[in-house]
């Protein structure tokens, strides 16, 4: 050793492994406009497809006349349900066990539903074509209000299943009923409510919203008649699932289907499902023999390809007078729209909503969810959250605040009193989950100390007095939220999508010069996998992250995996990566032992190679081991250095966090100002703190948008009123608050590197923090629960309803 020998710290730093704020490798191409998104894919002779869509929410389709459209210059074909019937594709299976019309078959069930697909030489000609297709409709009464869905006289929406008394998830109670899903002990819970000293009951609604990534859903389908092969470029969060689904419904051999998800411009759940545009483009390519591109416009995106939430949650909590919770009873009315295309693991019709007991030690609970059809777009995706987890977190976090108000207790104190205690982990919840690890008291206390929670409450009390004295028209709200997520779907014992177990995978192949390629079954949509996956490998096997190329999204080369959504990439694929790297390391150790002429057990791992225990100068680095693995492996050992791992997680992971929001609201205008937002996240082991903080910023911004303004609203005729960015709230840099991030680290005990996942936590925890702040602001004026979204107009309405605005001023 001499002065030039790098220190251990220098060697570790050079790897850019786990825990470092590695700059992203993706950014080199993205900052120069050199990404390749689906709309950037241009194939020779490529055609464009576009949809004729229904102006009605509910109508019979009397006739479709494409004659004039076919005379429009550039228009080559008009595909209708009749065309699709010849290949048995007029309807397609949904992820939730229902079927969905690909193109209107006899009737339409929501506004903007796909009616016909026009194929033309370019996108302008396709647009001319759709305007020339003549469709005759006979309007039917629309069903918009989910609370009217199961009325005896409610119109029959789904004529295809109106007589079926059994659905994919059990008995149906009504022609517009989809499923009833119950969990928990009803009798025990009823008994807890009977003897409760205090009970609360509130209808807590979570409005219909949309994930709206900046890039819409799109695809290019290219069928090669000679080879009988179908290539699909698409905005797919789960490319392998798409390939299998195409194989099953198009009856093509799976090896002849090539699904490629190139760079994706945000997903947030929008790009998990299969949409009519994909099917129609594939059929159009088969019919015309040319590649066909389909690109949604924004209105189509907001009004047809999925929605999120639309849960109406009647929430009851039983408690003792001193604030110990004794029971939870929740009934959800779930509005699924015209088809049940909810993107959940197949056995979970309401996702993991049974995480609704949250972070609290409820001795008993009962949950019932009724899914119903309405004349609205289908969907029900997990918009930046694990399946229905954000609805559950909102439900319990509002519920706890409502209980605190009734008890006259501080909401943070109520939470501290009821948290699952550290020694209770692994914790079995009343609704069936096994929480892996947590230290809620430490996180909550740290959050309260950082923001000076006691000081904020004192300030609020003073401001309330000033308001009562008429000295100010501003009210102050402090929103507390403590969420527990359930992510990392999932263990094959309870998670599958259409029978495909929800494992994930990694394949690592090292090259002789100490570099390599790693491929996974996940698919980044902005999460930075190319950067972070290489960091895990760098730490595990001592090859610099810069020397590992990460590839995802090509089903021909990537090992089979279930994709990226529900914060599953790190909990599932992240584990596969670590275990795959460890297989390589085990072989490397055998090579090192042979070279260093010692027994394997006499070696110890030292950052980037193996060292003989007690003989620090006897060392063999991974770079050299890579060369030896190919060119002179030990006798009897096959050459090469690569491995594949498929990981079936033993359990989910349970990230958690404490969020506090401070907001001021002017009662006369309803205008609000988020003064402070503090977010403490515990996602277990942290792989890249820079990326974690970035994800928290983004998720909080989406939470802000949802709580304070987003809504896909329908009028009584079923017209969508949130169909553009004029009407659907996406915050700009001006409205978006400043975010403060913090963390604690409670590793997952069952995950190979202890990581839990983080990308969706801020959306899950953020929404109740904002909503609780608004409700907390109004609570001293007599409000118990004000529904989201809390935009200026609704805040003003709330103030008016509470009688704090003079009639003359309000008029």
């Amino acid at each position: 050793m001499n002065d030039l020998t790098p220190t251990r710290e220098e060697r570790a730093a050079r790897l850019e492994g786990m825990g470092c704020k590695r700059k992203r490798v993706e950014d080199i191409r993205f900052t120069q406009g050199r990404g390749t998104y689906v709309d950037d894919v241009k194939l020779p002779g490529m055609l464009h497809g576009d949809f004729v869509r229904s102006p009605h929410a509910h109508a019979r389709v009397k006739s479709i006349n494409a004659e004039k459209a076919l005379q429009v210059p550039g228009v080559l074909a008009v595909i209708t349900a009749e065309t699709l019937k010849t290949v048995n594709l007029a309807w397609m299976p949904t992820l939730a066990g229902d079927v969905q019309m690909v193109l209107a078959d006899g009737k339409v069930l929501f506004q903007n539903q796909e009616v016909a697909f026009v194929v033309a030489t370019d996108r302008y000609a396709a647009d001319d074509g759709i305007n020339a297709v003549e469709v005759e409709y006979e309007a039917l009464p629309p069903l918009i209000d989910p609370f009217r869905a199961m009325a005896p006289d409610a119109p029959v929406l789904r004529e295809d299943i109106k007589d079926k008394t059994e659905g994919a998830h059990g008995p149906r109670k009504h022609h517009n009923h989809i499923f009833e899903w119950t969990v928990g002990d009803r009798d025990l819970t009823d008994a807890a409510f009977k003897k409760a000293e205090v009970t609360t009951k509130e209808l807590i609604s979570y409005q219909r919203v949309h994930p709206s990534p900046l890039e819409t859903c799109q695809c290019v389908c290219s069928f090669d008649k000679v080879k009988g092969e179908l290539t699909i470029y698409g905005t797919f969060q789960a490319p392998h699932v798409i390939r299998t689904v195409v194989a099953l419904i198009a009856k093509l051999p799976e090896q002849k289907i090539h699904v490629i998800a190139p760079d994706i411009g945000g997903g947030f759940g929008n790009k998990v499902g299969a949409y009519p545009g994909y099917i129609c483009s594939a059929v159009a390519s088969i019919v015309t023999g040319k590649p066909v591109k389909w690109v949604e416009d924004r209105m189509e995106n907001l009004t047809t390809t999925s929605f999120a939430r639309d849960y109406h949650m009647t929430t009851e909590i039983a408690a003792t007078r001193d604030g110990k919770v004794t029971g939870l009873r929740v009934h959800v009315l779930a509005d699924h729209g015209a088809f049940d295309a909810c993107a959940d693991p197949s056995k979970w019709p309401a996702g993991f909503f049974n995480i609704v007991t949250g972070s609290y030690d409820f001795p008993t609970a009962h949950l019932a969810v009724d899914g119903v059809y309405t004349n609205k777009a289908p969907g029900g995706v997990a918009y930046r959250c694990s399946f229905r987890v954000t609805e559950a977190a909102y439900c319990i976090e509002r519920g706890m605040d409502i209980l605190a108000q009734k008890l006259g207790m501080d909401p943070a104190e109520l939470r501290l009193k009821n948290f699952i205690r550290p020694e209770q982990f692994p914790y079995h919840s009343a609704l069936g989950w096994e929480y892996d690890s947590g230290d809620y008291h430490t996180a909550m206390t740290k959050a309260m100390e950082t923001v000076d929670y006691a000081g904020l409450r004192r300030e609020q009390a003073e401001k309330r007095e000033a308001f009562r004295r008429g000295e100010t028209r501003e009210i102050m709200g402090i929103g507390v939220s403590f969420f527990t997520e359930i992510v990392g779907a999932g263990p094959s014992k309870n998670c599958d999508i259409l029978g495909i177990a929800m494992f994930d995978s990694c394949e690592i192949r090292l090259h002789p010069t100490g570099a390599g390629v790693a491929r996974m079954g996940t698919k980044s949509q902005g999460q930075g996998h190319e950067t972070t996956w290489a960091q895990i490998i760098a730490t595990e096997i001592g090859i610099p992250a810069d020397n590992i190329m990460v590839e995802e999204g090509n089903t021909d080369t990537a090992p089979y995996g279930l994709g990226t959504y529900g914060s599953r990439s790190t909990p599932v694929a992240g584990a596969a990566i670590a275990l795959c790297a460890r297989k390589i390391k085990a072989k490397a150790q055998m090579i090192a032992a042979y070279r260093l002429e010692v027994h394997e057990d006499d070696l110890e791992w030292d950052i980037d190679g193996f060292r003989v225990k007690g003989l620090p100068e006897k060392f063999l680095g991974m770079k050299d081991i890579c060369w030896l693995a190919y060119n002179s492996p030990p006798p009897g050992m096959e050459p090469g250095l690569e491995a594949v791992s498929y990981y079936d997680p033993p359990n989910m992971t349970y990230p958690f966090g404490a969020y506090i929001c401070v907001m001021d609201i002017d009662v006369d205008t309803g205008a609000y100002k988020v003064r402070r937002f503090y977010a403490l996240d515990d996602c277990g082991t942290r792989i890249n703190p820079m990326i974690i903080e970035g994800q928290v910023h983004g998720g909080l911004t989406e939470a802000f948008a949802i709580a304070m303004g987003q809504e896909i609203h329908y009028d009584s005729e079923g017209n969508v009123l949130g169909g553009s960015f004029m009407d659907f709230f996406l915050p700009t840099a001006v409205e978006t608050p400043h975010w403060e991030t913090d963390f604690t680290v409670t590793p997952s005990p069952h995950h190979p590197i202890g990581a839990k996942g983080v990308g969706e936590s801020p959306n899950v925890g953020g929404v109740p923090a904002f909503s609780n702040a608004v409700n907390d602001a109004f609570s001293f004026l007599g409000a118990t629960h004000i529904q989201m979204p809390h935009d200026h107009w609704r805040n003003w309405q709330a103030a008016k309803a509470l009688g704090v605005i003079e009639e003359a001023a309000a008029a």
Partner: protein, 166 residues
């Protein structure tokens, strides 16, 4: 449909083409010229993913017809890095400050920030936030985009970048 001949300068190079009167500038750039760095996010002038620099102004190229820009000088994101591949101060700032995630808004955001810094070389945080409010980002929450622009401003102005405490 009858086509019109247009000529313009894009990233310093003269280009020409035949366009329909209704052809949008963004489609001329993306489809005819096959420069796909400029993105389309909303079709309605809200999101700014298609922002380019047109004769010294930021414009959303989904709301300009190609025939309107005959004779104009346009800069797109492809024209931002040096010919030798060195990233511009803004591109470097976006990478160093983690000012992007999915990358879809990034070209428009960088083009808008480029013009903003020409108009106001030392903007305050509020001025930056207002200055980029025609560009939507769904991933970052803007906080690191603001830092990225501050980083670039400092670099262009030759002063040391001081990251504000959280």
């Amino acid at each position: 449909m009858a086509k019109t001949h247009v000529t313009m300068t894009i990233n310093g190079a003269e280009v020409e083409g035949l366009v329909e009167p209704r052809t949008l500038l963004v489609h001329f750039i993306r489809e005819t010229l096959q420069m796909t760095g400029t993105h389309i996010g909303c079709d309605t002038t809200h999101c700014g993913a298609c922002t380019v620099d047109l004769d010294g102004m930021s414009v959303k190229s989904c709301t300009v017809f190609a025939v309107q820009v005959d004779g104009a000088a346009i800069t797109t994101v492809e024209g931002m890095a040096s010919p030798d591949g060195t990233l511009s101060a803004l591109q470097e700032g976006f990478r160093m400050m983690h000012g992007l995630q999915c990358g879809y808004c990034t070209p428009g955001m960088i083009m808008r920030a480029h013009r903003l810094l020409q108009e106001n070389p030392s903007p305050t945080e509020d001025e930056i936030r207002f200055g980029i409010s025609g560009n939507l980002c769904r991933c970052t929450g803007y906080q690191n985009i603001v830092k990225a622009i501050q980083y670039a401003a400092a670099k262009i102005n030759g002063v040391e970048f001081q990251e504000a405490a959280e």
